[in-house]
């Protein structure tokens, strides 16, 4: 009984880990070994690929650039989404339902549609190839998502909390920052997680809006493959490293992640 209970999840996780294993195992092989034939484990174990990434500025700056715009985007998205989500969860105002749906429609916009207009827009205001450009562009789909998640969490907090705080003599800012935000800390965590995730994995816009200074790691990878032949080992190492930031973030919010959507209302 105990073993069969875990059978299906275990098989599923095994299936999920296979391609990841293949990538990580390849990152410890030399390119010659990869192209030379099929081997389940690295025959000549090498860390050369990782050494190259950590010593070559074009490589490690790619990671710094990516992390920089992702963090900026997460901060901006959650900061502006907090008051908006509060308004949606507590008040009724002219056009609120339409506004909520309009926000959601931006989550549906295909990045492919916006790539070229975004390039023109951000070039014309002089932000091309800056962190801010990518961070702002990604708010297009992250703000709606953050509002949606936070609104769900806030609606789960009874209104009596607000009223009691006012009776106790709190002003609105004091109530909002000292009482309300700590109450929905889990929701903020989940929102941060999803903003981080969608900004980290998106490439089309990030690549379109940058050239040298703010080039994300994913774009460094595509460019290397085209200029210096097919360095598979190096690419595999770079790819393996992109998994780590996400894995760290997910570990911090592991207890809230399932709740994040359950409380969310569309």
């Amino acid at each position: 009984m105990r073993i069969s209970k875990w059978l299906v999840p275990a098989l599923y996780i095994f299936f999920l880990m296979l391609p990841i294993y293949w990538l990580v195992s390849m990152s410890f092989k030399t390119t010659n070994e990869i192209l030379g034939g099929f081997s389940l484990f690295p025959q000549n174990f090498t860390t050369e690929n990782y050494v190259k990434i950590f010593t070559d500025p074009t490589w490690y700056w790619g990671y710094i650039n990516s992390l920089a715009y992702v963090s900026m985007n997460t901060v901006i998205s959650v900061a502006v989404a907090l008051p908006a989500a509060y308004a949606f969860s507590r008040y009724r105002f002219l056009g609120d339902k339409h506004l909520f749906f309009w926000l959601l429609t931006n989550r549906m916009a295909p990045a492919a549609v916006f790539a070229l207009p975004f390039l023109q827009l951000y070039s014309s205001i002089g932000l091309f190839d800056t962190y801010l450009a990518v961070a702002l562009a990604h708010t297009l789909f992250n703000i709606p998502l953050a509002v949606w998640i936070l609104e769900g969490f806030m609606s789960g907090v009874p209104k009596e909390l607000d009223e009691t705080a006012y009776v106790d003599g709190h002003s609105f800012p004091s109530f909002f920052f000292k009482i309300f935000l700590p109450t929905i800390a889990a929701g903020i965590g989940v929102a941060i997680f999803f903003c981080f995730m969608f900004s980290w994995v998106e490439l089309l816009l990030a690549k379109t809006l940058t050239s040298v200074e703010a080039k994300p790691i994913a774009a460094v990878m595509t460019r290397t493959s085209s200029t210096s032949g097919y360095e598979l080992g190096l690419l595999a190492a770079a790819g393996s490293l992109t998994i780590i930031p996400g894995a760290i973030v997910i570990w911090f919010v592991r207890n809230y992640i399932a709740k994040g959507f359950a409380l969310g209302r569309v």
């Binding site: 391609p19 008040y91 549906m108 990045a111 492919a112 297009l140 994995v201 998106e202 569309v266």
Partner: protein
């Protein structure tokens, strides 16, 4: 929750509106502009009305991309949603291993999309990839870079690998919110497993499942990076989905007019379908 009417709430929403409007309305107007103009590349534009829309709607190329797109979205929805629910149902409700499971399952969701494409590209190579080698060694003539069927199989398998976990997480979130008392009541009534699923679990998961279907619909319709890296739309045009075709026209051939017209048609399809979903969902919730 009964809300108070407060028109000043608009001020709370204002920063969001300004940012999103800046990002959404200006580019959208640019697209609308292009879609109704003709240019010869020297920055002079001529009014061309709805010509591009007619051209796109009459072209076989658009309809075949749309057909492939619909097939892809349909396939991943009918595989990922039942599979995700089935896996969520087998997950234990409590225990220290549950969060480890959830973390491992969420891992594919956090890998940059081009890395997902590249990972599967190598994983499925018939000569040096684990999957390709395995399939060939058990007797399949598998080569996704040459055969259309294999390319589709790999594409769908990749998406199932990438996104099923989202459905699992959502369905699981719905399941853990069911109070134990419901199951005890069902046990007393002697309900079968199927009846428990049909009358307790499924209704409780309805909301999160609608969110799952909606998210998977939108994201699969927008998918671009993963198939481009995996197959590049090939072999031939056999896996060229809508967004790949769009980027080819817009950035490859720089045909801005037709590309813009196609963008708008594309966006309208997503918008309309999601709106229908959304209205149905709100109606359900109000009942």
């Amino acid at each position: 929750m009964n809300k108070t009417v407060n028109q000043k709430a608009w001020f709370f929403v204002l920063p969001v509106i300004i940012l999103v409007a800046f990002n959404a309305l200006i580019p959208l107007m640019t697209v609308v502009n292009y879609s109704m103009q003709e240019t010869f590349g020297d920055n002079t534009f001529f009014w061309s009305g709805v010509r591009w829309f007619e051209e796109i709607l009459r072209s076989d190329r658009f309809w075949s991309s749309l057909g492939r797109q619909l097939f892809f979205t349909f396939m991943i929805l009918i595989i990922e949603v039942p599979l995700g629910v089935a896996i969520a149902l087998t997950m234990p409700k409590k225990g220290p291993w549950v969060s480890v499971c959830l973390v491992l399952m969420a891992l594919p969701l956090l890998i940059p999309w081009n890395v997902v494409g590249a990972m599967w590209n190598i994983f499925a190579l018939p000569d040096i990839g684990l999957l390709g080698k395995l399939l060939n060694s058990i007797g399949f003539d598998y080569n996704y870079t040459r055969q259309t069927g294999d390319a589709w199989f790999t594409l769908i398998l990749m998406d199932v690998w990438h996104w099923t976990s989202l459905v699992v997480l959502l369905a699981y979130a719905g399941l853990v919110s069911i109070p134990d008392a419901y199951y005890q009541a069902a046990l007393i009534d002697g309900a079968s497993k199927w009846k428990i699923f049909r009358f307790i679990q499924l209704p409780k998961m309805k909301r999160v499942l609608t969110i799952a279907v909606l998210l998977r619909f939108m994201d699969s319709f927008n998918i671009y990076t993963e198939p481009v890296v995996l197959t590049g739309g090939g072999p031939g045009n056999s896996t060229t989905l809508l967004s790949i075709d769009l980027v080819k026209i817009a950035l490859g051939q720089f045909d801005l007019g037709p590309a813009a017209a196609m963008s708008l048609i594309y966006f309208l399809i997503i918008l309309l379908t999601s709106w229908i979903f959304y209205t149905l969902m709100m109606r359900n919730e109000e009942q």
